[in-house]
């Protein structure tokens, strides 16, 4: 358990700028591997998309080469067309493939046909293109959504030990920015390389047909590119990592400042907070600047490499064209219908076609290196995603955990010890037994461990030693969900959600009827003030003029716990913000309601304790007194008696009084 705390602290530290680079090429590939399950739900659509793309590319390869050739060679130079070329643009092959070349009128006709065929094709393809892009976005977003859901599930499964350390802004950043990288992953590590590499090989083959020496030149660009890719990978990753961490910190700072804005304003600390924000914002920008600079520098350098290759290659080809040298693959070109008989030489058509092919070759080389740069950022983002997903929750269901059916006997704390940090024990060997039908008051100085004691019952944390038993069975043998379904709690801080009053009361039981919501509100004495709200139960909390006082929030929070209708109810300082009269009413209602249940009341108020039939006095994590409040108050020098006296403002013993409250 302590290991987990240490891990969580380390994790939280990551968001504060702890770690730099932990990635290697192997790990990057592993990330890809780990993302594959995310694709499961989109397997079909993804395969369909890839297939459609491949078909389109294949359909296009032949026309594209031919269109360029027809334009340069046929239209501009007046050379003959091949049969295929003529047929493609809807012309009679016999008229346009005569070896003597084309007349001016024929060239113009070829031009018209060529242009309209291309235009028709483009117009027809536009909707298909839009459809494919939209489809692709849909798939990628689905994958991203899958990952976000996994992350949110993990965040919720992690115990409070984790959340005590974790910054909200960091979670937001990881969920939004880091997880989005998964949409790129498929593209960057899978689709794009697949497409680019096959295009490169295809181009290389074509260039080989023009001239093998030029194909070799294209290959010669690789060694320097590999070197640059290797040399820059780590600095880029480190840069991207810092940029992500800095932006995540910035998000945290905004969130934290806004969450505490009231206090900041009341204490005139706006100036220093703005400074803190401004510093963090600058830091984030500086980190992003550094990362992007490396990335752009890398791109410029790699472009020089491929640019040089391109300039030399084109220069060489220009020389070949000037002398109309024969193509290396002359026969192949002619037999494939790319050239008319006897025209398989370096003419303008093949020269321009070559320039396009060779340009494409260098372009794909550059693009692959670009992708490599992009991979560094994608991997960094995903690494941060998996850091979160890899965290183990310290509270998991045991193997063979069973759901709780009912609670019929009682709850027992058996020698329970617990500590947040290893140094101090927050709870030390707590041992007591509560039979069903009891109301137990837990009293003691602030910070003595009362709230922690109750958190263990919900398994927000697990005890370090000892156990808690329901009807004699360790609660760790039950599933966590069923446990939490059987225990309800009204927290000390009355947290309400941005929803209607009714939905807030219904929070734990989403399908509860309006009738039950009303009943719960009645028990919690919330009916009166809710009725006065502009729209009653349907009032949206947080809207204009519906600010609730703390006491009102407290009662909604109690109603929420009551509605859950569980055998165990915990009220943490339920009445701290209630006036005496309301408190009395609430407690009386509760006492009636609580028959055949167990109610724990954490409280300081004597007037609340009086409604209990057991009192546990906790001090420094130890149970120092336990018993009937009427007996404890009799005890000379008893801890409970001392507390009661101070509370009542009586230096001497007071008369215990339950006569008027009528216990259930």
């Amino acid at each position: 358990m302590q290991d987990n705390t240490a891990r969580y602290q380390e994790f939280a530290q990551l968001g504060r700028g702890g770690q730099a680079d932990s990635l290697s090429f192997r790990l990057i590939l592993r990330l890809l591997w780990r993302c594959l399950p995310l694709l499961r739900t989109v397997r079909g659509p993804l395969a369909g998309l890839v297939a459609c793309g491949a078909i389109l590319i294949a359909l296009f390869a032949v026309p594209v080469i031919n269109v360029v050739n027809i334009f340069w060679n046929g239209v501009l130079e007046g050379g003959p067309l091949s049969d295929l070329q003529a047929t493609m643009i809807g012309l009679d092959p016999d008229r346009f493939s005569s070896a003597t070349g084309l007349s001016v009128a024929a060239r113009k006709e070829v031009l018209r046909h060529l242009v309209w065929s291309v235009a028709g094709l483009l117009v027809a393809l536009t909707p298909i293109f839009i459809g494919l892009v939209y489809w692709r976005i849909w798939i990628l977003q689905r994958v991203n959504q899958n990952l976000r859901i996994l992350m949110i599930e993990k965040l919720q499964a992690l115990s409070l030990r984790f959340h005590d350390e974790q910054r909200v802004g960091d979670s937001i950043y990881r969920l939004f920015q880091d997880s989005a990288m998964v949409t790129q992953l498929i593209n960057v590590l899978f689709l794009s390389p697949l497409e680019t590499i096959s295009r490169f090989l295809f181009t290389l083959g074509l260039v080989f047909l023009w001239d093998p020496r030029l194909a070799l030149l294209l290959m010669l660009a690789w060694p320097p590119l590999f070197y640059l890719g290797h040399r820059f990978a780590r600095p880029m990753r480190v840069g991207f990592r810092h940029a992500r961490e800095a932006n995540s910190r910035l998000t945290s700072i905004i969130q934290e400042t806004l969450a505490g804005l009231k206090t900041i304003k009341a204490y005139g600390a706006e100036g220093s907070e703005k400074k803190r924000f401004s510093d963090a914002s600058l830091e984030a920008f500086t980190a992003a600047y550094a990362a992007r600079n490396r990335f752009v520098g890398f791109k410029v350098l790699t472009f020089w490499c491929v640019g040089l290759t391109l300039v030399i290659g084109v220069g060489f080809a220009t020389g070949l064209s000037a002398s109309e040298a024969p193509l290396y693959g002359e026969q192949f070109m002619i037999s494939m219908g790319f050239a008319a008989a006897n025209s398989g030489v370096w003419n303008l058509g093949f020269y321009n076609n070559f320039k396009d092919r060779f340009g494409d070759g260098t372009h794909t080389e550059h693009h692959l290196l670009d992708l490599w740069g992009t991979v560094q950022d994608v991997a960094t983002g995903l690494d941060r995603t998996f850091e979160l997903l890899d965290l183990e929750s310290d509270i998991e269901d045991a193997a063979g955990a069973i759901p709780i059916t009912s609670l019929s006997h009682g709850v027992r704390y058996r020698n329970v010890s617990f500590s947040y940090e290893s140094k101090q024990k927050t709870l030390d060997e707590i041992d007591f037994d509560v039979p069903i039908g009891s109301i137990v008051a837990i009293v003691g100085p602030t910070g003595s461990g009362k709230t922690t004691l109750m958190s263990l019952l919900l398994r927000l944390y697990d005890p370090d030693q000892g156990s808690i038993e329901f009807d004699g069975r360790d609660i760790r043998e039950f599933t966590r969900t069923s446990l939490r379904e059987n225990v309800s709690i009204a927290l000390q801080e009355n947290i309400l959600f941005g929803d209607t009053v009714a939905e807030n009361i219904r929070y734990a039981v989403p399908h509860a009827s309006d009738e039950r919501v009303r009943e719960a509100a009645e028990i919690a004495c919330a009916l009166d003030f809710v009725a006065e709200l502009p729209k009653g139960f349907e009032t949206q909390l947080g809207e204009r003029g519906t600010k609730l006082s703390t006491g009102q929030r407290q009662r909604i929070s109690i109603a929420r716990a009551i509605l859950k209708d569980t055998p165990i109810l915990i009220l943490d300082e339920p009445t701290a913000s209630l006036d005496a009269e309301t408190e009395h009413r609430v407690l009386q209602n509760l006492a009636r309601w609580a028959d055949r249940r167990i109610v724990f009341l954490i409280t300081h108020r004597l007037s609340t304790i009086r409604h209990a039939d057991r009192v546990a006095v906790i001090r420094n994590g130890r149970l120092i007194e336990w018993g009937d409040p009427q007996q404890l108050i009799e005890k000379d020098d008893g801890a409970y008696r001392r507390l009661a006296n101070i509370e009542a403002g009586k230096p001497l013993r007071t008369e215990p009084a339950n006569s008027q409250t009528g216990e259930p």
């Binding site: 920015q177 989005a180 905004i254 914002s281 020089w304 801080e493 204009r544 929420r560 209630l578």
Partner: protein, 666 residues
């Protein structure tokens, strides 16, 4: 007051124009930088005018072997000296020299006219982003761009990125500052996630709009004119190529115009859905204790699933509108491109142009066309930004509590604080306070008591002007506090809230929040008075212990004591505590109450409390019920009133211990 944080989804074209125009005002402080960026852009035009020519030389003179001077169209005058020199060389030498020239262009500007798609190699494309507003705009916040690559492009790119960041930093900080001066209650409804989204992701719209508004209208026409001039030198002034290029202005403008409304609608929905998702995460992470202990995980997951899926959907629809918009323009534009191919093709067939001219005409046409598109599409491109701007301006315009602030400083409280006939009502008109009169003197402890929801907190909030009275006045030493600066007022009041908020910093820094210059011994003393020193010293690192999120590692009572220490260390003439002792055990409370007594000797202490043991010690108790002060006096005085409300209230609390009167039963 932006309580609902909800602006209109539908923006009319006129609203959008006004919003966008307003963005221009924000350029002010960065005029010089924009000047430099403009110069860099104009400088990059020069090489772009030179780029197409080497290809023409290669095609016409090296491959086709046309001798220099016999080409159908002459070279522009600025190339004459080079052509002159080239005409004396052999074709091979021309080839070698051209390659050398292209190499220089490659290093300098990363382009050499053979492969035009490589031209923008140095811009920021390639930084990975997702398919949602948040990641796209995060990218925008750091984006740089340059028309060229190479060394010059790198310089240009870096400068632009810095400028983008400077602008974004400036406006983020500005917006953040505005948010922190919003009225106290603005963020009560937990719209934190939404505000985070605005600061982080909506502010980038300002930068984007500024670039579009300043750079495009200035550079595009210049680029067009320069291209026309160069083309005119060679191909005559009235070239159909130029008209075709310019026609793109209309092609980009007219067909897209009807879609501007959709662009705004979907961009705005996409931003709102993104902000809502942020709020959902923020809320469920901040309240994870409540979520886990109430078993709300499934519900929260469901909420997130819905919101997140919706934000993806809205973004997808926005992209679809973009795609359709640009495709419509592209189909029309395609017609123009076809026309150009006809024209040039016919020209070459007729011998008007040489094949090499094609390599010149096409890039110039593309240049003119894309500059025209930039101009023509200016409006449609700004639509998405206008929705972001709208969200930013909405917050900037929200009434801030400092808007009509006086700069007169209020002197520290010497004698007394008065509330004269003060009433307060929330906007719905439900009166919360009515006719409150009170006088409190320095040296006193005043207690506000009464049932929950009676208006005690509201009374206290009037004093530091967290809220302003609807009627009546609040006076300090006879001066109306509304006439003085907020800083001078708040610097003499320490307010401890009912719900304490601690920050993820050390204990010491948390106490120091309101008094940055406090010495260590002052901090320890305040902690001791607040009854916090014992537990602080037992923490692993004492005063240097980091508290974790929201002070989550401490119990509520411990947090409350740190908040009280924070107030005490400021040593202000007025101390207001809203239920400071609700979570304290009786012993700690007693110590605190006597500390407050002690503190009140030199100042005014106002306490809101339910606990008798806290109230009893006050010099004057004001019993508040339904927004009115119904009884006032000290404890014995009020207890002596038969059937007094206060007496009933006390009896209820100490029921059975010292009560002769039985309480009103529910």
């Amino acid at each position: 007051m932006p309580n609902s944080f909800q602006e209109d989804e539908k923006q009319s074209a006129r609203d959008a124009a006004r919003t966008i125009g307003r963005a221009l005002r924000y350029i002010g402080p960065f005029r010089r930088d924009f000047g430099i960026k403009l110069t860099l852009l104009l400088l990059s035009f020069i090489p772009m005018m030179l780029l197409p020519w080497p290809t023409k030389i290669l095609v016409d003179h090296v491959i086709r072997g046309i001798p220099f001077g016999e080409e159908p169209r002459p070279y522009p005058f600025f190339l004459e000296p080079l052509i002159q020199a080239a005409s004396e060389l052999s074709p091979t030498a021309v080839l070698v020299w051209t390659i050398a020239a292209q190499f220089c262009l490659l290093v300098g500007i990363g382009a050499f006219g053979v492969a035009s798609r490589e031209r923008n190699s140095a811009n920021g494309d390639g930084i990975p982003q997702g398919w949602d507003t948040a990641t796209r705009t995060e990218n925008e916040a750091n984006s740089g761009f340059s028309l060229v690559g190479g060394l010059f492009g790198l310089l240009d790119y870096r400068f632009t990125m810095r400028l983008t960041q400077k602008l974004n930093h400036h406006y983020r900080t500005h917006l953040f500052g505005r948010i922190s001066s919003l009225p106290m209650t603005s963020l009560d409804d937990g719209r934190i996630g939404d505000a985070v989204f605005r600061v982080m992701y909506d502010t980038t719209s300002i930068t984007q709009a500024c670039y579009a508004l300043v750079l495009t209208p200035l550079t595009s026409p210049l680029y067009i004119l320069l291209s026309i001039w160069v083309l005119g030198l060679v191909y005559g002034w009235v070239s159909p190529i130029v008209f075709a290029g310019l026609a793109f202005l209309l092609v980009a403008f007219i067909p897209t115009l009807p879609l501007a409304g959709f662009q705004r609608l979907y961009a705005s929905r996409s931003r709102q859905a993104g902000a809502k998702t942020t709020s959902t995460i923020e809320e469920s992470m901040s309240n994870v204790l409540a979520v886990q202990s109430l078993g709300g995980e499934a519900r929260e997951l469901d909420r997130f699933d819905t919101d997140s899926a919706n934000s993806f959907r809205q973004y997808r629809l926005k992209v679809l509108v973009d795609l359709i918009t640009y495709s419509i323009a592209a189909v029309f534009g395609g017609g123009l491109v076809i026309y150009v191919f006809f024209h040039v093709g016919d020209g070459i067939v007729d011998g008007l142009y040489s094949p090499g001219d094609f390599a010149v005409l096409l890039p110039f046409f593309v240049g003119i066309a894309s500059a025209s598109i930039d101009l023509g599409a200016l409006w449609i491109r700004l639509q998405g930004d206008s929705t972001g701007l709208n969200r930013v301006f909405f917050l900037m315009d929200a009434a801030s509590e400092r808007d009509s602030e006086s700069d007169r400083a209020l002197g520290p409280l010497q004698e007394k604080l008065e509330l004269q006939a003060v009433s307060f009502a929330y906007e719905t008109g439900r009166p919360t306070l009515e006719g409150i009169n009170l006088t409190a003197r320095s040296g006193q402890v005043i207690a506000l008591a009464g049932p929950a929801g009676a208006g005690k907190t509201t009374i206290a909030q009037l004093i530091p002007r967290f809220i302003n009275p609807s009627h009546g006045r609040v006076l300090i030493d006879g001066q109306n506090i509304a006439d003085y600066s907020l800083d001078s007022l708040r610097s003499q009041i320490s307010f401890v809230f009912q719900e304490t908020s601690l920050f993820d910093a050390t204990v010491e820094d948390n106490i120091r929040l309101g008094h940055p210059e406090a010495t260590e011994s002052e901090i320890c003393e305040a902690a001791r008075l607040a009854g916090a020193s014992d537990f602080i010293e037992s923490l692993p690192d004492g005063y240097q212990t980091r508290l974790g999120r929201g002070g989550g590692k401490l119990s509520v009572g411990q947090r409350q004591r740190i908040a009280i220490a924070r107030a005490l260390v400021r040593n202000t003439p007025i101390l207001i505590l809203d239920e400071p002792t609700s979570a304290l055990d009786p012993e700690t409370e007693q110590r605190l109450v006597s500390a407050l007594r002690e503190a009140s000797r030199t100042r005014l202490v106002i306490v809101i409390a339910h606990r008798l043991s806290t109230i009893r010690e006050a010099d004057e108790i004001l019993f508040v019920e339904e927004g009115r002060i119904v009884e006032r006096g000290n404890h014995p005085h009020l207890m002596n009133r038969p059937n007094g409300r206060y007496r009933q209230y006390v009896n209820m609390q100490t029921l059975g211990t010292d009560s002769p009167t039985s309480p009103t039963t529910p």
